[in-house]
Amino acid sequence: MNLSQARERRVVTGGVELCVAELGDAGRPTVVLVHGYPDSKEVWSDVAVRLAEHWHVVLYDVRGHGGSTAPKPLRGGFTLEKLTDDFLAVIDTVSPDRPVHVVGHDWGSVQAWEFVTVGRTEGRIASFTSMSGPSLDHFGHWIKRRMTRPTPRRVGQLLGQGAKSWYVYMLHTPVLPELAWRGPLGKRWPRILERMEKVPAGDYPTASLPSDAAHGAWLYRDNVRARLSRPRADAYAHAPVQLITPTGDSFLSERLYDGLEDWVPRLVRRSLPAKHWVPRTRPDQLASWVDEFITANESAGREGAPAQPTPAQSPYAQRFGGQLVLVTGAASGIGRATAFAFAEAGARVVAVDRDAEGAARTAEMARLIGAPAAWGEAVDVSDEDAMEKLAARVASEYGIVDVLVNNAGIGLSGSFLETTSEEWKKVLDVNLWGVIHGCRIFGKQMADRGQGGHIVNTASAAAFQPSRVLPAYSTSKAAVLMLSECLRAELAEKSIGVSAICPGIVNTNITATTRFAGADAAEEERLQKRTSRLYGRRNYPPTRVADAILRAVVRNQAVVPVTPEARGARLLSRLSPGTLRSVARLKPPL
């Protein structure tokens, strides 16, 4: 299905004729998608098709854009009041007796904030999902608050947003913007979007772009100065709002939405590492969040329950809610703690481990603490075929992985001269090849989807701290660290982040399964017990490593040493590698 198969109709209102398109079953609840500037309804094509599977999707060209006619004269024809008239005319036609769910991007969202905060639409809007478009009234109050009490931080926020709004000033100059859009800018715009905003090339933007952009300049001229200087004092939302904030937006600061809770009693926040044009660059994620929000509010409306999805406990919920996260080595230690941390943030979790029972247990517990879904998968990461099959199964049954955590690893200690090639092979198979398979197979899926993602590889402090007792393990982890750095460079253009986590001594059961080269069974058992006790006494919990992993994904950090000893070793490896070499010669007290 695509937008060309949509049912089109014309709605006449207030001297203009609006072009309205409909997709999906008209008997289902209606979702109205409102586009921004300089766009037409085609900006929603990818999102609309996905939403049409469950909902009655309605898109319309805002007056003066796409297939809709422009008001005459243009000046004064684009006020928010008139845009609200248009919206009401559309929803009265497509959903006369049922409130609609509104989704707005950019100026579509600015308009929709007006719809959802004025009295005459009360009862006609069931929910509103906003992205990259603040309410001009809220924005006006935001500026006022910062002007009246200008602390250094507030001045910084004002200047920051002031700089991001450069194009708004340009659009207020007469005639020039129109000339530019109908001339060179209009011609180059698709290339600019592709290069600066990473919007994939294709049937968007449409041929009507120059006139859309020229007419749309009046959106700014008719509303911005008026609203920002005299914001309405009663701009409270009368419907639940889901705010999706792209963290890499070049035009809007995240700080704009500070204190939004004062205006919106029922607010759900989401954040997305992306640039401004999320309907083009992240359609899957948007469709899934919109879908979830509409579903929650539809069922709440029926049962009279509070109209919000259950608020997740984790501070990471707004970033990871509903995402698909795959963790290897998830039956114990850091992997399990990481799976739980993502579950608590509302992510869907695939727990992979050689130990089927442990993986199933992780999945079961993950569901109990907030994962909307979780699955245990028994796979050995060093087995390439098994990993290929896993990736195919995950893609077909659960979707494309948003965050991949290559965490599975085994320990091997003992002098180099006593380590057999078999033992070398085994540790490299899991610790290095496991990561390679994961990155290659799942990373490819992520890159092919083209909607970003993140890969986390668990390296170790041993990656930069040499040691006479861990030659094989340290080698494997150093390789993982370098692999992560190289991959990060390569995948950056695909908006896929790569992080290497380097934990120091963490209390997990890796010590209980570590092979000690050159030791017989009894001696090995003694050493395992002894190291387990030492690690137990150190008692650095894996949950803190898991927190560091989530933080690394949110901040897209490259290398994250965890535990003081790891941070110290990392610092010394730069400042004074000689010290680390001396430490490497020490024999641990085992």
Partner: protein, 286 residues
């Protein structure tokens, strides 16, 4: 499992009967107070309710005063100093887990019990409670095998890790999973030190001194001083599971004797306790 029915087969001396009576009294208190907990009750209030309930029924001295932990305090989240164990003004909310822990002395006999519950529905908490059963069985089995206390401690911790939990009894003073309890001479006046009855502490300290000479300790910890087989006597055993902001425990008396018969060498003093009944009911329901 033999543990379920074992106590009936054991010869219960009048002395053990005394301990069992006070343990039942303490659990009755826990169930009564748990039944009265409502949304908005604070930990301090819950602790006072336990104290009043037991005082009304003749308890005059304590091994330690009643504790109450709500919400993530059941998992001792962020506990750094022992003072944080004392009840706070944290209020109970729907769905919140709670733990009541008290150690009354009654007619000279001591009990130390822990009762984990939850206000309303909480499937995660149910899971934790159900998973405690394996620990009760494991501890009894390994004590009967006369394994060293330190090893048993590590096996319990390993089982918790396998289940996906963290060991939260490590947060107790000396990281103990259990401690010895004994009879206490009833004095007219028994002052308390940081919530612990001085008479009971005296017994513990004297045990520690004797034990130190003979190579055992009245504290069951992960450290070297617990690297010895179980010492005959009464042990208040308290495995405590933690899972992110949720914790659950039970605490009850394990009797260890010097009998050669494994069945007689160790047994739970009483199998008619709320958590044991709950497991039995769950099995019947399943």
């Amino acid at each position: 499992m033999t543990g379920m029915t074992s106590a009936v087969q054991h010869e219960i001396t009048p002395e053990l009967r005394g301990f069992r009576e006070v343990q039942r009294l303490a659990y009755a208190c826990a169930e009564a107070v748990a039944g009265q907990l409502r949304s908005g009750v604070t930990e301090r209030e819950a602790a006072r309710m336990q104290r009043v309930w037991l005082r009304e029924r003749g308890v005059r001295d304590w091994f330690h005063l009643p504790f109450a932990w709500f919400g993530d305090r059941t998992a001792f989240a962020g506990f750094k100093v022992p003072l944080q164990f004392f009840p706070t003004d944290r209020r109970l909310e729907p769905g919140m887990p709670f733990i009541l822990d008290m150690a009354p002395v009654y007619k000279g006999f001591t009990a130390d019990v822990g009762y984990a519950g939850c206000l309303g529905l909480n499937p995660l908490h149910d899971r934790l409670l159900a998973d405690l059963e394996a620990h009760r069985e494991l501890i009894l089995r390994e004590v009967r095998e006369r394994r060293s206390l330190r090893e048993i401690y590590e096996d319990v911790e390993r089982l918790m890790t396998t289940q996906g939990y963290t060991n939260r009894h490590r947060a107790y003073p000396f990281g103990v999973i259990a401690h010895k309890i004994d009879r206490v001479t009833e004095r007219r006046w028994s002052p308390r030190l940081f919530g612990f009855g001085t008479q009971a502490l005296k017994g513990l300290v004297s045990d520690a001194l004797h034990g130190h000479r003979d190579g055992w300790s009245p504290l069951w910890s992960p450290y070297r001083f617990s690297d010895h087989p179980p010492q005959p006597g009464l042990w208040a055993v308290e495995p405590h599971l933690g899972f992110r902001g949720t914790g659950a425990k039970f605490e009850e008396i394990l009797v260890v004797t010097d009998s050669k018969d494994p069945e007689q060498s160790a047994f739970w003093l009483d199998d008619d306790l709320p958590h044991v009944r709950r497991w039995a009911e769950e099995k019947v329901a399943a």
